[in-house]
């Protein structure tokens, strides 16, 4: 905020209360111009509430929202130069595709003729020109999605808000639309704020992600940071799959700490602020960052037995029972050419944790 650049959106200490229930507990975040920004979290985490506050559909109980430096939280939605792609598209069923797309410009007083001309151009851009005379109900789900996008882009908003716009599409179409959305964002240069509960979708598309839970922001960062350096237990657990292990920090050596598991095993990892020697915390190890091998190669390899293998297509997921009674899930690529070998259930194995991939988390 203080670095002098004007942000597309600045949310400052925004609070939303419904009676006694607090949906959003003082959230602050800055979204850069020309950014693909994602609000990610499980349902009920407050992400949609935040988006609707930016759009103007929800009053802000406390706090401020700035759009390119202008305070907007008191403005009605029709006076905010942001547009929304709704979850169920909300295409006006009694209007043609062209009328839908031209609606915003018409309301801005551009005149019917110009609104239609511009709507036609936008439809060209999303390759729907041939459907401009149809009613929304005559289109497929994917086409409706693109019309909703075109409608929201037509008035050239300063920020485009997308409220889980892909959730109604089937998997294949969703993947295709993810790429298309990303390209569209690059082409138009408009800031996109995207709301989703699908972590994979968020990781695929976003420049930066804000992970939310229970009305609070848990972590904000680039996709890679969020996945590889989760800052707390919630983020580690919500983004991707992981093994979460209760640990106690036994000793510290520079920026490395030795963590002890409940079953007596130990593992060294990077120190993190907020957790000192003698304190307990969690350790997160991603299943694909571990390898199974026949022999012990390093001191910190854990000995265990394969309990069960679960075939998941691209990978095989092995449940390993460690000596002293703890379980780990290890993912091995399902390929003969891969270095890692898949062991039959019952085999005795050693688990090798990739260096630097164990992440210590404060409670």
């Amino acid at each position: 905020m203080s670095d002098g650049t004007v942000h597309a959106i600045d949310v400052r200490n925004a609070v939303k209360r419904y009676g006694t229930f607090t949906a959003l507990k003082s959230v602050s975040l800055s979204i850069k111009d020309n950014e693909f920004f994602t609000l990610l979290g499980p349902s009920g985490c407050g992400k949609t509430t935040l988006l609707r506050m930016i759009a103007g559909f929800e009053d802000v109980t406390e706090g401020e929202i700035f759009l390119f430096g202008d305070e907007i939280e008191k403005l009605p939605p029709n006076r905010r130069p942001v547009n929304t792609v709704f979850q169920n598209y909300a295409l006006f069923p009694h209007m043609s595709v062209l009328e839908n797309v031209g609606f915003g410009l018409e309301m801005l007083g551009r005149g019917k003729a110009e609104a239609r001309k511009r709507a036609g151009e936008i439809l060209e851009m999303v390759q729907l020109s041939q459907f401009s005379g149809r009613k929304p109900s005559q289109l497929s789900g994917g086409q409706q999605q693109r019309v909703a996008l075109a409608r929201a882009l037509a008035p050239q908003p300063k920020v485009l808000l997308l409220d889980e716009p892909l959730s109604a599409l089937d998997l294949k179409l969703r993947k295709a639309m993810q790429l298309e959305l990303k390209h569209l964002q690059r082409e138009t240069g408009i800031t996109f704020i995207f709301v989703t509960h699908d972590q994979e979708e968020a990781l695929t598309m976003s420049d930066r992600i804000a992970v939310m839970s229970a009305g609070e922001m848990q972590q904000l960062g680039a996709a890679r940071d969020i996945y590889e350096r989760p800052e707390n237990r919630f983020v580690a657990d919500f983004i991707g799959e992981t093994n979460l292990i209760n640990v106690i920090v036994k000793s510290k050596d520079g920026n490395r700490v030795l963590c002890g598991f409940e079953n007596g095993l130990t593992l060294t990892c990077d120190a993190v602020p907020g957790i000192d020697v003698g304190q307990s915390g969690h350790m997160s190890i991603r299943p694909e960052r571990m390898k199974l091998q026949q022999e012990q190669v390093e001191a910190e390899n854990f000995r265990g037995t394969v309990i069960e293998n679960v075939y998941v297509g691209t990978d095989v997921q092995s449940i390993i029972g460690l000596d002293g009674g703890m379980r780990l899930t290890v993912r091995t690529q399902n390929s003969d050419r891969g270095k890692a070998r898949i062991f039959e259930p019952g085999s005795d194995v050693f688990v090798d944790v990739e260096f630097g991939s164990a992440r210590l988390l404060a409670n």
Partner: protein, 267 residues
Amino acid sequence: MSKARFDVKSYPGFVQLTVLCLLILYLPLMVVAVYSFNASASIVNWEGFSLRWYADVFTGPESAKFKLAARNSFVIAIIAATVATAIATLAATAMIRGGKFRLRVLSLGLISLPLMVPEIVTAVATLIFFNSIGFERGLLTILLAHIAFCIPFAYLPISARMQGIEDTYEQAALDLYATKRQAFTRILLPLMMPGIVSGYLLAFIISLDDFIITNFVKGAGVETLPTAIFGAVKQGLKPNIMAISTMLVGFSIIMVTVSYFVGKKDN
């Protein structure tokens, strides 16, 4: 049929009772319709097909009376249905799109009041009201009473329709720079139209068909079709009454059918 034996859903006799139900509902109307084409002046014997009683309705000795009654009925129904539908549309917007508010339950109670109070009680109350304020009974009293009790009938389909319209449509309109008024006229109103049309038609028929309240609040000498028919029936059922009745039944059925298909078209 062997399939039906193991169908846990079906019960023996239910089909027959359904047929009986429809027979009871339709047979009397059909019989009257058939007898309205009877050539005989007696309602007992059938003497062949004839349109003479339909001609009698329009040109016979009582035709002036019936024409006036019909005109009164239709004028009242058109005005009452229009006013009631307009009032009900506004009310539905407040009730369905006005959030939660303290007077909401009370308002709903008020709207359903004419449905809960027995019609004869409403009739008595309205008569007493007009009498006590010295309002001369006549067409205007009938019209006012009809507007009041048509409101809930117009309200029900309109509010039901509105409940089916998600508020994201208006939000999308507001998001696209429409004012609330524009969102109402450009988006909400067109989407509500099927509900408004069926509300209007139902209010229209309710007004057109009303006998009890009209009978109480009409002035002496003022007749609508139902009160004229009632007066005539009291002196004995004549074939020309059957002809009028059949026409009125046909008209109602056409209106309801239109209303049904208007409502259906959009789903």
